[in-house]
């Protein structure tokens, strides 16, 4: 059956995966006697999508840089620049310009990274670490110079900024006063179908235009990187720059542009955090999401669709911690984790990977035992869940992935 799914065209394949995921959530809900309806609630889907966007944007940013062969650990720092510039732009020129200015702020970070790594040949990780240290420092300095002069601003935060307009899908989710089909479906309480309805309604209701633009960047990135001449040259810079050089491609230029695009995406992600999520610039507001974006890039196997899936997976537990004050839904998530891990056991055994199977079995059993002996989970577990999921996912998939062949190598023109 797995092989048959794998042979489906991409859109059908992803839809199948999503349905399987929702099916597992539904089953767990039935087991948890509806104390856990939070798992597939409309509000959870809505929040999960929102929380996935910065991770997605950071991941796509990483995609451009690493497809061009430049490791971008500095995404976090560029994202921080994006949060500051985004809030500043939104406060002065409105939220749409805020996003543009945030992206420019991130691109400045990208430019610095490009100058260091491409121009001077500094080790990519060292330069990235330096940018991650520079980013918060620069934001702190800028705040002390600019935001302290504003009403309601301080060294650590900006005044409130407006959000981008929202969009609700007509007919499906009842936008523009049309019938709300998905709500009707969700209210029927049919297992699986109603849950799918609820989740889709969450995604299609009151969706910010910024979210829609970010989601559109997934196919756009795929198109640009794989279907255009520019994308081909970016990718040759990451796979074999010397081959590209022999064909007369100006590798430096493509690496420079790709890393700046990378910074702009991360900056957009940062601006999204300031404008859409917190409505304010806050120091430390990124909480490491640039790095989670990097993990999404790795788990997504350096492909746009994979990055989107990873971002949704990593964003989901964040969403769950809102509105789940009693810890029931997060508790139910333990069972979801256990089911997923047992799925990994089966997959590993089919591929004759005994160690993977053993590790997954132990982790899955622990998760299941924890689920059955307790009624709720402590709040600290809810907080660390996204990070734990990143590590567990990488434990099983880190070695199966293929990054661009010349990724991380220092390229100097005319030298091999």
């Amino acid at each position: 059956m797995i092989d048959r799914i794998r042979r489906l065209p991409a859109y059908a394949r992803w839809a199948t995966y999503a349905t399987i995921g929702i099916l597992i959530l539904t089953l767990v809900q039935e087991l948890g006697q509806n104390q856990t309806s939070h798992l597939t609630a409309t509000s959870t889907a809505q929040t999960a999508l929102k929380w996935s966007i910065p991770i997605l944007l950071a991941g796509l940013g990483g995609l451009f840089a690493e497809r061009a062969g430049i490791i971008n650990i500095g995404l976090e720092g560029m994202m921080i620049l994006g949060t500051w510039f985004g809030a500043w732009g939104a406060f002065n020129y409105g939220p749409y310009w805020g996003i543009v200015i945030g992206a420019i702020g991130g691109a400045i970070g990208g430019l610095i990274h490009a100058i260091a790594t491409v121009g001077f040949g500094v080790d990519h990780i060292i330069s990235g670490v330096a940018i991650n240290i520079l980013g918060p420092f620069a934001a702190r300095f800028l705040s002390s110079e600019v935001f302290t002069g504003y009403q309601g601003g301080s060294v650590t935060q900006s005044p409130r900024v407006e959000n981008v307009d929202k969009f609700t899908m007509p007919f499906l989710a009842g936008g523009y006063e049309t019938p709300n089909f998905l709500k009707w479906l969700g209210d029927k309480e049919i297992p699986l179908l109603s849950d799918i309805g609820n989740i889709l309604r969450g995604i299609l209701t009151q969706t910010s235009w910024a979210t829609i633009i970010a989601l559109l960047l997934v196919p756009i990135s795929a198109y640009v990187l794989w279907k255009t001449r520019f994308g081909l040259r970016v990718r040759i810079s990451g796979e074999d720059p010397w081959a590209g050089e022999s064909q007369g491609v100006n590798i430096y230029r493509y690496k420079f542009v790709a890393v700046m695009i990378s910074g702009a995406f991360a900056g957009f992600g940062g601006a999204f955090i300031s404008i859409e999520m917190s409505s304010i610039y806050q120091e430390g507001g990124t909480t490491g999401r640039g790095f989670i974006g990097l993990a999404a890039l790795i788990f997504g196997n350096w492909r746009p669709g994979g990055i989107l899936a990873a971002a949704l997976l990593f964003g989901y537990p964040y969403a769950l911690q809102f509105g789940d004050f009693d810890g029931f839904a997060s508790h139910a998530l333990l069972l979801v984790n256990a089911i997923a891990l047992f799925g990994v056991v089966i997959w590993a055994l089919r591929n004759d990977k005994r160690t993977d199977a053993a590790i997954a079995f132990v982790l899955g059993s622990l998760s299941a035992v924890w689920y059955f002996v307790s009624d709720t989970v402590p709040d600290w577990w809810v907080k660390i869940l996204p990070y734990v999921i990143v590590i567990v996912v990488l434990i099983f998939f880190a070695q199966r992935l293929r990054m661009p062949a010349a990724n991380g190598q220092i390229y100097r023109r005319g030298q091999t």
């Binding site: 650990i73 610095i112 100058i115 260091a116 001077f120 040949g121 500094v122 990780i125 060292i126 330069s127 670490v129 330096a130 940018i131 991650n132 240290i133 520079l134 420092f137 620069a138 702190r140 300095f141 705040s143 002390s144 110079e145 060294v155 909480t287 490491g288 790095f291 990097l294 993990a295 790795i298 402590p378 600290w380 577990w381 907080k383 660390i384 990070y387 734990v388 990143v390 590590i391 990488l394 434990i395 099983f396 880190a398 070695q399």
Partner: protein
Amino acid sequence: MLRRIGLALAAPTAAVLFATIASSIFLVIAGSNPITAYGDMFEYGSRLEIQVDILNRATPLYISGVAAAIGFRMNLFNIGVEGQYRLAAIVAAYVGASVSLPAFFHIALILIVAMLVGGAYAGVAGVLKVSRGVNEVISTIMLNAIAISGLIAWLVREWQAGGTVDATGANLGIGTEPIDESGLIPNINSWLELFTREIGKGKELTGVLLVAVAVGVLYHIVLNRTRFGFDLRATGINPFAARAGGVNDKRMVLGAMVLSGVVAGLVGMAEIAKLGRFNPNFVGNLGFAGIAVALLGRNHPGGIAIGALLFAFLDTASGVLQVTGSASREIVFIMQGIILLAAVIAYEVVQRYRIREEARMASTLLAGEAEE
């Protein structure tokens, strides 16, 4: 020889100079006078009491820098010093408060617990890397988040000292139980006063400074005088050649990671000695600052010391700017950032220049032989 030293010093000097000029431009744009601002900072930094503060700040920075440098020497990026030292500090404070021993053993116990916890937590990332191929940059960052927002938040509550008022009625505040006097590393004011006048009241030079010096000396010895250090450097310079030379690379990764964590465990000790406990406001960001200091000092024990002193000077001396109002205090953040980035680039440029120079010298020598 003189030329080599000159080249080695050229890069950091150029970086500091560049950062000073760049920061001056920012200051002028912000409407301040850079010369007064720098003058105020130097005047302030030349006082003995402030120098004690600078040393106190430089001590954990230095230890943190060495912790990061151990990994960097073999291209292993332990970004997790931040989580390692905080976790080590809270466990050490808890263990230290729950026993009473003679001073020497008490202090030794606290230090050893801190080193073990730091090493073990870093070891998780090491095991993930060698057994599952998980990139250590990602895993240490995730472990940071897990330690800080999860484990420590939980342990602080779990180990909260009973009640907020002790038997004598003094307010204990929030945090772990206080450690007995015997477990606190004493200050070494008297050592410093051998050379200087008496230190003003309320200023204490932390005894952890001696620990930092010991860490630096040991780092130098292990790196340059032991098999492990040789293997470490060899792996960093050329992992394939090192493996061909019989270096067990998996064991090296794990060893370097754990060692880095062991040193990271000591970062919080100055703060523990000062506070006598762990509380939620425990000083943060030393891990990231340590990475900056290690990069600035080129992972060299002496270089890291200079980097730590420089950053500590900027952190501490900038306090005066708030008082005199000659500039915004945050200018030092931008300075530190620019110094770091400029230094990283300058090292690379000098390195390339040196390689070219050596190649040219070699070729002229060879050409000279050919003529004879």
